[in-house]
């Protein structure tokens, strides 16, 4: 079997692909080829030699496009050169691990030549498609803010029909560091920890002040020396971050290493500290304990460390990281008292269960949010008429209902994290419907709607046996009392805060459908009163009109 693995993302993703590539390359019947962008080729140094690496000449293609008016033709010629080279290999299988639009068109071109494909590709009419369930799962659930809790390295392995054991995650051979780098390491008299000061994305980086505070804390509370790593662009950040005290224990390698050198540097360290970036994944490969700083822009479950020992410090924003906690965590990692897992909130635990229910068939979660019951019931009530509408798709009334249903599904996903898992799964299943005659598409769509109904009914049945609510928040009526009281007594700041909180925790009560027009007209009146600074009137509207409206809605629900 001759397989081309397409990995056109950046350094970190290439390293996340290593366990899959290495395991594939050990299979006797496999000839593994890998396609990466030339800019990121250095992340392939150290892979087994029997993996054949091809590069996308992205730099020369871009230069051609930018060089003159119709540079696209020249770029296409360069690209054709690569395609001819790849097509001549006559690959049996394409494993697209890039999950991007460009790679999906590229995969499609191999599919047209008869290769089996896994990963994002295109339907025969050019629309996005995925044949395999793992890619459908990826499309539906993977990414920051999404529900996925499987590590990306495992998802990639799953796509190659592999299962990664612990030993598959780590490598036993890695490139040696260049001599100047090794000399610096040799000159360090004590054990050292490595601190990656940068990040590929500014939203995921620590500030120089934070880095300095963390370094000071480590110098004070531990006996380790500290080696700073990062690209040449991050040298200035490292300079700004270095404290003046204790500098003899700080070794700055930023801008002095090539990417493959970092394997050796990190492997010799007691521990690596860093944000979501390539060194974290290199540490996982050489199995160095890792302290990962993470924030809401990152899904730690899918791109966090995978060393035998790691800890993820999760905060909403990286600026919230408390430097005083770092030394204890580093000592815990070095002394094996820290376990390797990403700590879940109650909500994340439920979402994880929900994912397993929908995709793996485990029992459904019976602890739900108050909003979940409402949207679940509403969706189940609506589904028979939606299915009927799909039987007569040309009818304007049917079209209107189908459009309302699409909007409702979106609002369910926005307002309820458990329903979001189901809505995203449903959307991915609809995308997989291939082009065809109206009746064929109709039949397949009805099949997907049927599946949605089975899933929801099954869940509702299990909830009927026993249900608990996760949100311990006060009843909306009590919350509304607080808002009204603040406005009556002109505690405006508190009033606005309570109102925001009331609106976000009770968004399901304002969702489309029943009483939505009344709610919308009332909302305008309240906004008008607040705009006019007429807080007494706002309090009246909230206390009398909104309470009456929501009580009616509660009764209907």
């Amino acid at each position: 079997m001759k397989t081309l693995v397409i990995q056109l993302a950046r350094f970190g993703d290439i390293y996340l692909t290593w366990p899959t590539l290495i395991k594939m390359s050990k299979q006797l019947d496999q000839e593994v080829h890998l396609l990466v962008r030339e800019t990121f080729k250095s992340a392939t140094i150290g892979l087994p030699e029997n993996i054949i690496v091809h590069t996308l000449p992205s730099v020369s293609m871009m230069s051609a496009i930018l060089s003159h008016e119709s540079g696209e033709d020249q770029a296409m010629d360069i690209f054709d050169g690569l395609l001819d080279q790849l097509y001549s290999q006559k690959f049996d299988q394409i494993l697209n691990l890039s999950f991007s639009p460009f790679s999906s068109y590229l995969t499609r071109s191999f599919e047209e030549l008869g290769a089996q494909v896994k990963g994002y590709t295109r339907h025969s009419d050019g629309f996005l498609n995925f044949h395999d369930d793992t890619s459908a799962y990826f499309y539906a659930q993977v990414g920051p803010g999404r529900a996925n809790q499987f590590h990306l390295s495992d998802i990639m392995a799953m796509m190659a029909d592999l299962d990664l054991a612990d030993e598959d995650r780590h490598i036993s051979v890695w490139p040696k560091a260049q001599s100047s780098v090794q000399q610096t390491l040799n000159s360090i008299s004590s054990e050292f920890i490595v601190f990656h000061v940068g990040a590929s994305d500014l939203g995921k980086a620590l500030s120089s002040y934070q880095i300095r505070q963390i370094i000071l804390e480590l110098l004070q509370e531990t006996s380790y020396s500290i080696v700073l790593i990062g690209s040449s662009k991050e040298s200035q950040l490292a300079q700004e971050s270095k404290p003046r005290v204790g500098s003899e224990r700080i070794f700055d390698l930023t801008g002095k290493t090539q990417l493959p050198d970092l394997f050796s540097v990190i492997q010799q360290a007691q521990c690596l500290l860093g944000v979501d970036s390539a060194p974290i994944h290199m540490a996982s490969l050489v199995d160095t304990p890792t302290l990962n700083f993470s924030c809401r822009h990152v899904n730690s479950f899918e791109t966090g460390p995978k060393s035998s020992k790691f800890k993820v410090m999760r905060t909403k924003e990286l600026s919230e990281i408390d430097p005083l906690l770092i030394s204890d965590l580093v000592l815990g990692l070095c002394e094996s008292t820290v376990h390797a897992e990403v700590e879940c909130t109650d909500e994340e635990r439920l979402i994880g269960e929900m994912i397993r229910s929908v995709y793996l068939g485990t029992p459904y979660v019976r602890t739900i949010f108050k909003s979940t019951g409402f949207v679940l019931t509403q969706c189940l009530d609506l589904l028979p008429s939606v299915a009927k509408a799909y039987e007569t798709p040309q009818d304007p009334k049917s079209r209107e209902l189908m459009s309302i249903f699409d909007d409702l599904m979106k609002s369910y996903a926005d307002s309820d994290v458990l329903m979001k898992v189901i809505v995203n799964w449903f959307d991915a299943e609809r995308i997989r419907i291939p082009p065809g005659t109206i009746s064929a598409i109709q039949e397949k769509t009805l099949g997907v709607l049927d599946n949605l109904q089975y899933v929801l009914m099954d869940w509702a049945r299990q909830l009927g046996e026993s249900v608990q609510f996760l949100d311990q928040s006060e009843d909306w009526s009590v919350q509304l009392d607080h808002v009204v009281k603040h406005f009556r007594f002109y505690n405006l700041e508190e009033g606005m805060e309570e109102l925001q909180s009331f609106l976000s925790t009770n968004s399901h009560l304002f969702s489309n459908g029943i009483l939505s027009s009344e709610a919308s007209s009332l909302q305008k009146k309240i906004e008008g009163a607040l705009k006019d600074s007429d807080y007494s009137r706002a309090a009246d509207l909230l206390e009398y009109d909104l309470r009456t409206l929501l009580s009616t809605k509660d009764m209907i629900a």
Partner: protein
């Protein structure tokens, strides 16, 4: 800024050419290749610009 405008124009030209072929002859390897190049440029704008993470393009 000038570079970005040039790239946007190139993307637009490639997408229009692809659409013209699709409208007349249906979807085939030719528009697939044009779309591929258009998407390559779009991704390149993000992928090799270190201000962005790769994640959003997935």
């Amino acid at each position: 800024m000038k570079t970005e405008k040039k790239l946007q124009t190139a993307i637009q030209r490639l997408e229009q050419s692809a659409q013209k072929i699709i409208d007349t002859r249906g979807y085939s390897s030719e528009p697939n290749k044009l779309k591929m190049l258009a998407e390559f440029i779009k991704e390149q704008l993000r992928n090799e610009d270190s201000r962005y993470s790769t994640r959003p393009i997935r």
